[in-house]
Each structure stands twice: as structure tokens, then as C-alpha cells.
């Protein structure tokens, strides 16, 4: 093999090959809609995180005299609620609850679902049947109904909301993970890895996971907006976060009757839910497009 002198920094000549994830990041960075959605989400997340320092008032301290002040009222930019509590403060604090209640179940589902799905898909046989049919039992119920049923049985409170929503999302992720695994498992490079003497663990770690995590991640990201809406919905129904804590769904519920007095203030938490879940939807769309890289 004639290896003649080549320029030392070949990558500078022929263009550096980019790894998959770097290519994805590069493509995301060139998608304006996704960038805007990401910026909006970053803003929401940051304001929720910094609520204790950003909020001008105590979220549970109200004043009867100042009930239902309109948007733009002096000292209360976004008005006050039915107990005279500052809306801006409660929206900031409520964002923490809603984001935690929306993101945690999807995160749990991503980890647990991927583990179960890859296991079922790779081992196949009886294990697959057991795991997948169990998941089907949960999958048979509509998401909202299942969440309400489990939360109703467990009782209200944030931890129970997280548990019930996780149960809703795990089977969905398992399904996607299992089908992706079964598809990749049959490809020849897995057989080649087996032929080279690699054990199950090495194959799953180096060959399987890298190729199934992408589609699972995209799917999980589409579920975040749904999870946020479900979490807010449970609170709205009194099955989630309990008063006096601030949470967007709960705020929507308690402000419900005030809609005839002052239409704009009760709409604010709904608007917050809408913007957040919309931004998550746009972000996951962008992620899906950026990850669809075919040679």
C-alpha cells in the first residue's frame, strides 16, 4: 500500500467528517422555527427556575380588597386572582409545578420505557410477549382516562400526579423502543458483531442503543406537550396539585367563575399552558426533522 506524504491536517482539505449528533445540532441551529421555540422554552424554564427571586410578591399572600384587579393595574402588572394574589407571581411559581409535572413523567418513561422496550425487543420470545402484552393492557385505556383513574385511586398531590402520568407514558415509549429494536436487531451489522464474538452487552451498548435512541428520543419529545396538558388537566380536576400551591391548571380552575367579571386574567394560565406545550411541539418537530439524516 503506497502511503505517500499527505498533508498532515487532512480534515482541513477534505472537510472534517461530522459525527451524527454534531450534524443534528448543526441542522437544529439552522432551523428558525425550532430556534424560536427553544428560546421561548428557555425563557419559560429560566423564569420558573428563578421564580423566588423574580416574583414581586408572596404567591399565597392575597388581599380581599385587591380581588380580581385587571391586567395593567398599578403594582400588579398582570392583575390579581379571586383572592387578591398577584397573578405574575403565581404564574411564575405555577410554571415550576407545571414544568416539573409535565417533564418528569416523560423523563421517567424515556428511561424505563427504553430499558423495557430494548430488553423485550432484543431478547424476544416469551420475555417480549410478557412485557408487550402487559403494556397493551395500559395502552388499551385512553391517556386522559387512565391518568384520571390512577390519580383518583392514589389521591391528589404532586407525587401521585407524577406516578400516574409516568404509568400513562411508559407503555407508549416501550412500544416505540421495542419496534425500533426489533428492526435494528435484524440488520447485518448486528450479526457481524455477533460473528466477531461480541457478547450481548457489548452489542446492545455499541451497536443497538446508538441506533434506537434517536427515534425514541424524538417520540418522547412529542409526548412532553401532552404530558404538560395532562398534568394541568389533573390539577384542574382537583386530582393534581392541591391549593394553595400555584399551578397553571389549578389556577385555571379557581379563576373559572371570574371569567364574567374579568375575562383576561382567568385566561392567563391557559395561555401559559398553550404557549409552553406549543413550544415543546415545535421543538420536537424540529428535532425530528434534524435527526432524519439518510445517506
Amino acid at each position: 500500500m503506497a502511503v505517500t506524504a499527505l498533508p498532515r491536517d487532512l480534515d482541513a482539505v477534505v472537510g472534517a467528517p461530522m459525527s451524527y449528533w454534531r450534524t443534528v445540532a448543526w441542522r437544529l441551529g439552522r432551523d428558525p422555527a425550532t430556534l424560536v421555540a427553544a428560546a421561548v422554552l428557555a425563557l419559560i424554564a429560566l423564569s420558573a427556575l428563578l421564580a423566588p427571586w423574580l416574583a414581586p410578591y408572596d404567591p399565597s399572600a392575597g388581599s380581599i380588597r385587591l380581588r380580581l384587579a385587571p391586567v395593567g393595574a398599578p403594582a400588579h402588572v398582570l392583575g390579581t386572582d379571586e383572592q387578591g394574589r398577584d397573578m405574575l407571581t403565581r404564574l411564575l411559581w405555577g410554571g415550576r409545578m407545571t414544568l416539573v409535572a409535565g417533564l418528569t413523567p416523560v423523563l421517567v418513561a424515556f428511561v424505563v420505557g427504553t430499558a423495557l422496550g430494548v430488553l423485550a425487543g432484543y431478547i424476544g420470545g416469551l420475555t417480549n410477549t410478557l412485557v408487550m402484552r402487559t403494556m397493551d393492557i395500559f395502552y388499551a385505556f385512553p391517556a386522559v382516562l387512565l391518568a384520571i383513574a390512577i390519580s383518583g385511586a392514589l389521591g391528589p398531590g404532586l407525587p401521585n400526579t407524577l406516578i400516574s402520568l409516568s404509568i400513562v407514558f411508559v407503555p407508549r415509549v416501550v412500544r416505540v423502543a421495542e419496534s425500533a429494536t426489533v428492526q435494528v436487531k435484524s440488520l447485518e451489522y448486528i450479526a457481524a458483531a455477533r460473528a466477531s464474538g461480541a457478547g450481548v452487552r457489548a452489542i446492545v451498548r455499541h451497536h443497538l442503543l446508538a441506533n434506537v435512541l434517536g427515534p425514541i428520543l424524538v417520540f418522547a419529545s412529542t409526548q412532553v406537550s401532552l404530558s404538560i396538558i395532562l398534568a394541568a388537566g389533573l390539577s384542574f380536576l382537583g386530582l393534581g396539585v392541591t391549593p394553595p400551591a400555584a399551578e397553571w391548571g389549578l389556577m385555571l380552575n379557581t379563576l373559572r367563575q371570574s371569567i364574567y367579571v374579568n375575562a383576561l386574567v382567568p385566561a392567563l394560565p391557559g395561555l401559559a399552558i398553550f404557549i409552553t406545550s406549543m413550544a415543546f411541539n415545535l421543538l420536537s418537530d424540529g428535532l425530528r426533522d434534524a435527526m432524519e439524516i439518510r445517506a
Binding site: Y20, A195, G197
Partner: protein
Amino acid sequence: MSTTPVLQVRELRKHFALRGGVLQRTHAWVRAVDGVSFDVYPRETLGIVGESGCGKSTLARLILRLIEPDAGTVRFDGEDVRGASADRMKRLRRDMQLVFQDPYASLNPRLTIEDAVAFSVLVHGTARGEARERARALLGRVGLDPRLYGRRYPHELSGGQRQRVNIARALVLDPKLLVLDEPVSALDKSVQAQVLNLLADLKAERALTYVFISHDLNVIEYVSDRVLVMYLGEVVETGTADALAQAPKHPYTQALFASAPSLDPEHRLERPPLSGDPPNPINPPSGCRFRTRCAFAMPRCATSAPALRAVGAAHDVACYLYEADAVMEAPAR
């Protein structure tokens, strides 16, 4: 030719169950490989040829124990592959490697080609740096400068280049036996020639033994010392490449050679020697499996299957046409 075979396959059988219904009950069997026996001697190339669906790829995977056979034995260097423990199997895998047909599906899209080749070495407990080094050396040997290509991803390479990566991956463990499952079928003719020449060079250099599977008779004739002709999971004829090319005995082999496109205008084909698709291996014909497409089929072909019998030096055929001679000779004794 050496006397002790590197690879000894005896009565190898694999039937795949077709399951259906709620209870996943078996309702039929696909007889992919049905009682195949052969030997492969050191430093030779055994070509295995047959139509698609005749069980060639299944056979390749059975030899390497990527799928478990139902019956029969595979011996590599005298060692029983089927009965090998997990530890022994891992050792054995270093000595017998497989090159796959599809240059696209056989490389992990998320690994650079250097890592793809190095992975095989890493699996056997070699340090990362040394594995890289060996991978780079071998990539260079198969004609892919590691400095140019080492950090490329498979989708950046052409089909021929990917197949070179596959060959490097198979060779990086220094195997004795290479099973090549249609290694050039997915490539252009000109690239095919390059890859075949590379394989020939590597074989001479490393004292390799090849089992070369293909449906392309021209390729098989070019690379093989001996040839095995398969039809519906069975061996119908085996002999040296020259013997088969000059005097094919089995009607199926004759038809195969007659249908291979010839570059000689004198050998123009007047009519297709073989018509129709091969029968379904789920319910193969009784007796001789080729009889449904055979021009010389006799009544006894439907009742019992002919066994392989010698018709010349190292030339065996499974056909009653040649048994007739034996019968006629018998009374003269």
C-alpha cells in the same frame, strides 16, 4: 491438496418454523438447509452456487453458528462448533469470519469505519490503542487510506468501499476461514472485479481458506477450486470448478451453465434452459426436488430422492440418470 479438512460439515439441517394464529402454533416448516455435507480443505476456495432461496445464506450462518442448526455437525479444525461452550465459541469466532452481502446494512451507521473494524478486536480484550492501530493497518491493506477514510461514516462511502471495510472487519481478527456470503453481488461489474482481485491477493498473502457463496456462476467459476451446487436446501452436485464447467452432470447444473450469459456469440442461447421459479421450500416436491423443472424426470424421481454418488474423481452428483449406469453394470460383475 492437504488431507485434513479445515471445515467439515455433515448432514447439516435447519428448518424454520412458520408460526401463525393467536397461539403461535407451527403450521409449516421451511426446509432451508436439508442434510448438507461437505469438506473444505486448507487454502482452497469452495464455491457454493444456487438460485436465491436455495439456502445458501442460511448455510453460511449455520457454519458460523449465528443460527443454531436442527441437526448435523460442523467441525472446524476438528473441533465441534455446535457443541462449543460460550468461551470456546468466542475463540472459534476469531478463526472463522463472515463477509456479508449487503454493504449498506452490514455497517453500523453510527460508527466510523475505523471504530467498526476496531470493535471486533476490542471484543477480544485488546487495548483500545492497539485495536485502532490494527484496524488502521488493515484498512490500508484493503485500499482505504486510514488517514483519509478512518474517521468517515459508512454513508460517506461507496458500495465498493463499504465492502472493503467489511472485508477488513472480517480479517482484523486474523481468521483462517472466511465465509463470503455474496460479497460482490451488490456491486457494479467493474467494482466486482476489483474486490475479487483484492480477495484473491489477501487469500494468497494470509493463507486463507474461502467458502464463497454466490448466485453468479461466472464469479463462482472464476474464484473457486471446487464448487457445490445447491438446489432447495440440498446439494445436487459437487466437483472441481473445471469439471463442472466442462462436464456438468446434474440437469440443474447443466441448465445453470447454459443460462449463464456467455460472451461468446457462438454460444448464443436458443431457448431458456430453465423455466419457472423454484418450488416453494415450504412444501418441496417429493423425491428429487428438481424433478418439477427437470427435462429428464422419470417416474422413480417422484418416489425417492437420489443420493450423491461419484461420477468421476472428486465429482459427485445426486441424480438417477447416472445411477442407471451403475445398475446396468451390476449384472456384469
